[in-house]
Every structure is written in structure tokens, then in C-alpha cells.
């Protein structure tokens, strides 16, 4: 109904907030249900779970997300009974609630404009929920309506209400009966009428008020909700509302001093310390700080060495503060991994259902924080990996039992920080990867020659190659074309590396190493063809002074000897289509390694300093085929292009001449 009364320009921003809130609420719903499933009996968790659904329902109704509102209403009704202990927290109930929370998440996505939900599934879950509401005694369930429940969310408390209307209450067409009806919407109401003041008929004034009532209300509502019932008659009656300690009701469970708030004290205190900021504002500020740092570097470049001695410490302090501002802003943009982990937990449950496999899913390290630019793009590779693990990695329960493994498979997802990067580990205890099969597939796909000799690790890395998929049939879950090459591509696009460790029959572990942010990059500045370029430190192995005698040729390919192997040497200028200044001889060789561990040497003319650079994305298609991933502005104001080492190596590997080199360098040395 909100929709009709508010113009879209007003409504839009409110919806954005609504969906942000939904994400948070879904997270707490899920973690709460998980905690209950693990056996927690903390009533505050039940409350939290209830509140989450309640809030979603309330807002959804405002925005006319009918399906979402209807579903959350049913779910709320069940949770309300769980909270009132009308329903026991059985394992079956919690399973159903988790299922319902998945549907709720889908409905939120649908409302957000995402994929339409499967209404058959929604209806089915609604039916399950209705079953729970129907199970309880009495008819309270049938009287539920979204409005009747109002703003629930506190603990069950008992209140004594002393109410004596004055004549003016009746004159303004208010009616005690209606007030009692409102009160009974808040909970369970017992009333006692006191008619002792009614005079004899002779003295009775029809316009006067003689009756008074004492009520006992058991309610989850905050005290304010009770006062609100009497909002219109505040000046027209004597009214007293006090906590009741008697009446055979459950004692208020809260500690003294906590006056019936509907939020737990800790949550309350915490929410006061959190502000919601539009991301665009943070990004804008971040860009400004980037500019500041560029200017500062420029300043340093131009005047740093000419500063008067007494100014230098001031300048040093200025630099230090700029750096701290930058780091502080990065911290603001950082977010914990937890929501992504929770999404994966949801995914696992959905896959369990779809595959009939039983999975224990454990996630640790969800508190680790990464920049939101990284976080946003993490879900895709993780989803692929977990799907693959369940679909292909884990055996069927019968198969597992036959192998002496527990019927339920285990998948663990863990995260930790190492060397300024975030490392994610995804392990399963499934069948592991069959190297023989990988190799035979790779040969049949023409990815390797039939007589090539590859090390075990090289074989494993084949699964990351485009066009490789070992699944003999395309299952519904992994979907067509979702091979490990897609995962690899996602991870590489994040500036990360992926590796795999697998033991046949024991399980598989994937290791993802990702930068904490995409906004900053450590790199060295090199010069070639009159331009400046950045080689990311993560890809750099070594720099070598090249001498003419170091360079050999295999056919048209130039190679250099590096750690007992020969690796191709290519001129950077040539790669990028810049004019080559002088020969490749007497230049500097930068040995780089792509994410698969393939090394090449890139010849450049100059190597400058190593520095932290601020990554600026390049608009348009320029970067795609040019071995460049992004750009930056250097201290002297020049633009430098950041090299896409993975892309460069990939292209070299694919060029016909190099195949010969790589085909043999893996395990055999080339004899020249």
C-alpha cells in the first residue's frame, strides 16, 4: 500500500535500504537456524530468528511484494509458535525452517528483480508450514493476520492494566470494548470488570462513566505497544500499566533494568555503533584519496629532494597520514566473508536435496574481511567449486558405505589471511581426482599430445584449461560448460591463483589465494618502447640482466636458460605492438609466472622502482587482446598500463612456435 502513496523517486531509495536489510536479516535468520539445529536452546536466538522474518514481512507488505509477504507471514507464524514454545525445536522442524529460509531468500531475490521463484516449490513449503500451524492446540492460528501481530519481538511478559474511563471517552465515540479488542491482539488478555460504582437507578446519569476494569495481559510486545492502544483516550481515562509479577504467569525472563525492549541489549548497543552509508559515497571518497596519493607521489617526484630540511619531517608526517587515510578507507570497504559462506551453506542444502547425497558442511574463518570488490566476485568461483565437489567429488551414500566411508560426505570451506592475501580452502572427502582419467580426457580433447610426459601436478592443472570437462554426462547441477576453466578464469580475474591437491579415493582440496583488495596493487614499473608498464609483484619471479650469449633460439622462438630450464623470451614492446627500441639483446629480462606456474621471460628496456599503485580500470575493450589489465597514474603524472601476465603467457603458449618449447620443458630439458 505504501507503493501507491509514495512517488517512485521516494520509493526507490527506500527499497534499496529494504533489500540491504533483507540480506542482513536473511543472514541472521540462517545463522540462527543453524545454531538451533546444532542444539542451541538460547531463547534470544529464537527471538532473533523471529524478528528477522517479522521485519521482512512487515516491509514486504509495505512494498506490495505479495508473495514475499505471504510467505514470510506463514513462516513467521511457525516461528511465533516456536518462540512461544507451542512447538518444539525438533530436528524435522528445523530442517523445514531451513528449507523455508531458502525459499524466503529466493523470494527476496525475486522481489529484487531477480529470477522468478518456482511457485510449485513455494506452495509446497507453504503447505509444510501450514501443517505446523495447524498442529497446535486452539484456534489462535486461524486468527493470525499480519496486523494482529504488530511489532512483536520481545520476551513474554505480564502486565497489569488498570483502566477507568471518564465520560469524555464515551462522548468522543471511543469504546472500551474496542480497546480491549486491541489489547487482546497484543497477547492473552484476562479482564475483570468493577461495576461497584454504578449508582442506583435514580442517581444514574446516562452521560457519566461508572465502570472500571483490571486487565492482565501476557504479551511479547514492548510496553509502548500497550500504551499505544490507549493513544486516543489518553486524556479521557485513568490508566495504569505495570509489570505484573503474579497471576500465575511465567515470570519475566529478563534481567532487571531491561525494560522490555524488543532487541537484546547487546544487539541494541551494537546497532547504535553501526551506520549505514551509501557505497557510492565511500567509493567517491576512496577515489578522492587515490587522487590525493597520486598528487602526493607527484609532489614527491617533483620536489621531494629539494625540500628544505625543516620541511621534510612535516612532509613525512603528511605522507604517513595520507597512507593511513587510505588504509582506513580500505577497512571501511572491507566486509566479512560470512554472508558468502552462508550463501554456500544454503547452496549445499539445495544440492543435498537435488542429488540425494548427504553432506556435512563446515565453514570456518567467515570473520576474515576482504574488500567488497573481491567479496562480490567470490561467490561465483566458490559456487562452482562446491557444486563440483558435491556433484562429482562426493560419492553416493551407498557407494561411500561400500568404501568404508561415512555415508555423509564432508565439505569444508575455510578462509584465512596469509602474506596480505586471503586464502580459501575448499575440501571434500570424496573420490578424489583420477589422474589417469584427466590425462586420457586431455589427450582425447587434444590438449596434450599422446606421448607427452607430464608430472602429476601438470596433469592436475589440466583441469583448469579451457575446453576440459571430465564429467562423462552433463548433470543438471553442474550445468553445461561449468568446468574448472570457468573457476580459474573467475579467480584469475580477481588477481588470484587457484591450485588443487587431490588424492584418489581420499578427497580433493582446492586452494584459492586472492588479494584483499582489487583497488591496490604492488608492482614494479618497467619501461619498453617508450612507454611505462607495471608488472604485478604477484607474478614476478626475478629480473635478469640479459647478455647476448644468454639467448638461444629454438626455431623462431627465443629462449633463455632459467633455473636449469629454457623458457621463452619475448619482447614486451613486440607483445604490445610498440616499436622495439634496439634489439632484445642487452635488455632486462623479467621472469614472470602465470597462475598455472608457467614461466616466460619478458624483455624490457628499463626497470624502475617497486611501488604500490592504485588500479584504475580501463573502459572499453582495449585491454582484452593487448596483454593489459588496467592502468595507473604514476607519480610523474604519466599513465602506466598494468600488464596482464596471465593473458600474455596464455598467448605465448598458444602461439605455434612456443608449443614446441612447452611441450618439452615440463619434465625434459631441451638439449640444444
Amino acid at each position: 500500500m505504501f507503493n501507491q502513496s509514495l512517488p517512485p523517486e521516494v520509493l526507490g531509495p527506500i527499497k534499496v535500504i529494504f533489500f540491504q536489510e533483507c540480506d542482513e536479516l536473511l543472514s541472521s535468520l540462517e545463522s540462527g537456524l543453524e545454531a538451533l539445529k546444532q542444539g542451541s536452546a538460547d531463547p534470544e536466538i529464537v527471538n532473533m530468528v523471529f524478528r528477522a522474518v517479522h521485519s521482512i514481512k512487515g516491509s514486504a507488505a509495505n512494498f506490495e511484494y505479495v508473495r514475499l509477504a505471504r510467505f514470510s507471514h506463514s513462516l513467521e507464524a511457525v516461528l511465533s509458535d516456536l518462540r512461544a514454545e507451542k512447538l518444539g525445536a525438533s530436528a524435522a522442524l528445523l530442517e523445514d525452517l531451513l528449507l523455508a529460509s531458502d525459499v524466503l531468500a529466493e523470494l527476496v531475490e525475486e522481489a529484487r528483480g531477480g529470477k522468478a521463484t518456482d511457485s510449485g516449490k513455494t506452495d509446497e513449503v507453504l503447505k509444510i508450514l501450514a501443517g505446523y500451524i495447524g498442529r497446535q492446540a486452539g484456534e489462535a492460528g486461524s486468527q493470525r493476520s499480519p496486523q494482529a501481530e504488530g511489532k512483536e519481538g520481545g520476551d513474554l511478559r505480564a502486565w497489569r492494566i488498570d483502566f477507568r474511563p471518564e465520560a469524555s471517552l464515551y462522548r468522543s465515540a471511543n469504546d472500551p470494548l474496542l480497546l480491549f479488542r486491541e489489547l487482546s491482539r497484543l497477547g492473552e488478555l484476562k479482564l475483570e470488570l468493577d461495576d461497584g460504582d454504578i449508582p442506583g437507578l435514580a442517581e444514574l446519569e446516562p452521560d457519566q462513566a461508572y465502570l472500571s476494569w483490571t486487565g492482565l495481559l501476557r504479551s511479547f510486545q514492548p510496553e509502548q505497544a500497550i500504551w499505544d492502544v490507549f493513544e486516543f483516550v489518553a486524556g479521557d481515562c485513568h490508566l495504569n500499566i505495570t509489570p505484573s509479577m503474579t497471576g500465575g504467569l511465567k515470570e519475566p525472563s529478563q534481567k532487571a533494568g531491561h525494560a522490555g525492549s524488543d532487541i537484546a541489549p547487546s544487539a541494541d548497543a551494537r546497532s547504535n555503533r553501526v551506520i549505514r552509508v551509501d557505497l557510492d559515497r565511500v567509493d567517491k571518497l576512496f577515489n578522492l584519496v587515490e587522487e590525493l596519493l597520486v598528487q602526493q607521489t607527484t609532489f614527491n617526484h617533483v620536489a621531494g629532494k629539494r625540500l628544505a630540511p625543516e620541511v621534510q619531517p612535516v612532509y613525512a608526517e603528511f605522507r604517513r597520514l595520507s597512507k593511513e587515510i587510505q588504509e582506513g578507507l580500505l577497512a571501511i570497504r572491507s566486509q566479512p566473508l560470512k554472508p558468502v559462506f552462508q550463501r554456500m551453506a544454503r547452496l549445499v542444502r539445495q544440492l543435498e536435496q537435488a542429488t540425494g547425497k548427504s553432506v556435512n558442511f563446515a565453514a570456518t574463518g567467515g570473520d576474515a574481511e576482504v574488500d567488497r570488490s573481491v567479496l562480490e566476485r567470490l561467490a561465483e568461483p566458490l559456487t562452482h567449486l562446491i557444486r563440483n565437489a558435491i556433484d562429482h567429488g562426493l560419492e553416493n551414500p551407498e557407494e561411500r558405505e561400500g568404501l568404508g566411508k561415512p555415508a555423509s560426505g564432508t565439505i569444508t570451506l575455510s578462509a584465512y589471511q596469509r602474506f596480505g592475501r586471503i586464502v580459501l580452502e575448499i575440501s571434500d572427502d570424496g573420490r578424489g581426482i583420477d589422474r589417469e582419467r584427466i590425462l586420457s580426457t586431455a589427450i582425447s580433447r587434444g590438449l596434450v599430445g599422446p606421448d607427452e610426459h607430464l608430472s602429476g601436478q601438470d596433469v592436475e592443472s589440466l583441469i583448469f584449461r579451457p575446453g576440459f570437462s571430465t564429467a562423462p554426462t552433463v548433470s543438471e547441477i553442474s550445468g553445461r560448460g561449468v568446468g574448472m576453466d570457468v573457476v580459474n578464469k573467475c579467480v584469475r580475474a580477481l588477481g588470484g591463483r587457484i591450485s588443487m591437491n587431490s588424492q584418489k579415493g581420499v578427497g580433493t582440496t582446492f586452494l584459492l589465494s586472492l588479494p584483499l583488495t582489487l583497488a591496490l596493487l604492488e608492482g614494479i614499473v618497467v619501461g619498453a618502447g617508450g612507454g611505462r608498464f607495471i608488472v604485478p609483484i604477484a607474478s614476478l619471479r626475478e629480473t635478469l640482466q640479459l647478455r647476448a650469449g644468454d639467448i638461444r633460439s629454438i626455431g623462431d622462438v627465443k629462449v633463455i636458460r632459467y633455473r636449469d630450464r629454457y623458457i621463452p623470451l619475448v619482447g614486451l614492446a613486440a607483445i604490445l605492438g610498440y616499436p622495439q627500441m634496439g634489439g632484445i639483446q642487452n635488455s632486462i629480462g623479467i621472469v614472470v609466472e602465470d597462475d598455472l606456474g608457467t614461466r616466460i621471460a619478458i624483455a624490457v628496456e628499463e626497470v624502475f622502482e617497486q611501488q604500490q599503485i592504485v588500479v584504475k580500470e580501463i573502459q572499453g575493450a582495449y585491454q582484452a587482446d593487448h596483454g593489459v589489465s588496467a592502468a595507473t597514474v604514476l607519480g610523474d603524472g604519466h599513465v602506466a598500463l598494468i600488464l596482464d601476465i596471465n593473458g600474455i603467457v596464455e598467448r605465448q603458449k598458444q602461439s605455434a612456435e612456443c608449443v614446441r618449447v612447452y611441450g618439452k620443458t615440463s619434465d625434459e630439458r631441451i638439449s640444444l
Partner: protein
């Protein structure tokens, strides 16, 4: 049971439309009047409303005067009257109460609050 009738009195066409739309949608029959005088006319010709919702500031006869008139005599002495107004000073509330208003709804327009208030004051 036939639909409850709500008489909504407001001089703003937009407000009348919004009240009409949102209350019709949830099942009420809505009769509209443009001011106090019109409201008295409608009360003559239409079925007795379950609830009257009125604006305060209106030409010809304002909301306070309308309430005062209805409370003094006639079949609507006991009809719940909700005041819907943008007036921010506390004064109007007191005046409306003094005149016999049952309750109030403060603008900005929130259809849900109107529905809630109607529920609170009517059977």
C-alpha cells in the same frame, strides 16, 4: 456482511483519491466529501458510515466545526471520527478532541496507519 462505509472528507483531490484507492482496495466502501458542508449533505443522502475521516483545514466548514456539529445532535453522535491532518501544532489535536474526535492520523499519508486507526475505533 456488506462492506463498511467510510466517509472521507478532504478538500484536496489528491488526498481524496489516495484515501479512496487505499481504503477501497482493502474492502471498504468509500464516500467522499470535499468539505464539512458537503459531508453533512452526504450524511443526509448516504447510508450511515462506520467511520468518518476528516481533514481539519477546509473551506466553508472545517473539520473541527464538522465534528462539533455531528457530536451535538443527530444519528452520528456516536460515529467514530478520525482526524486526518498535516497540522503540526499540538493545538489542533486538543481542539479536535475537545470537539469530540475519536482519534487521529497524522500526515504524511500512510495508508496502513489509516487502516489501523479505522480498525481501532470501529467494530
Amino acid at each position: 456482511m456488506s462492506a463498511k462505509t467510510i466517509l472521507a472528507v478532504d478538500d484536496s483531490a489528491t488526498m481524496r483519491e489516495m484515501i479512496f484507492q487505499s481504503l477501497s482496495e482493502i474492502g471498504y466502501r468509500v464516500v467522499l466529501a470535499v468539505d464539512g458542508v458537503d459531508a453533512l449533505d452526504k450524511l443526509q443522502s448516504e447510508a450511515a458510515p462506520s467511520v468518518i475521516i476528516t481533514d481539519i483545514n477546509m473551506p466553508r466548514m472545517n473539520g473541527i466545526a464538522l465534528i462539533d456539529r455531528l457530536r451535538r445532535e443527530g444519528p452520528n453522535r456516536t460515529t467514530p471520527i478520525l482526524v486526518l491532518s498535516t497540522e503540526t501544532d499540538a493545538d489542533w489535536k486538543a481542539q479536535a478532541k475537545q470537539a469530540g474526535a475519536t482519534g487521529w492520523i497524522t500526515k504524511p499519508f500512510n495508508p496502513e496507519r489509516i487502516a489501523d486507526a479505522i480498525r481501532k475505533v470501529s467494530m
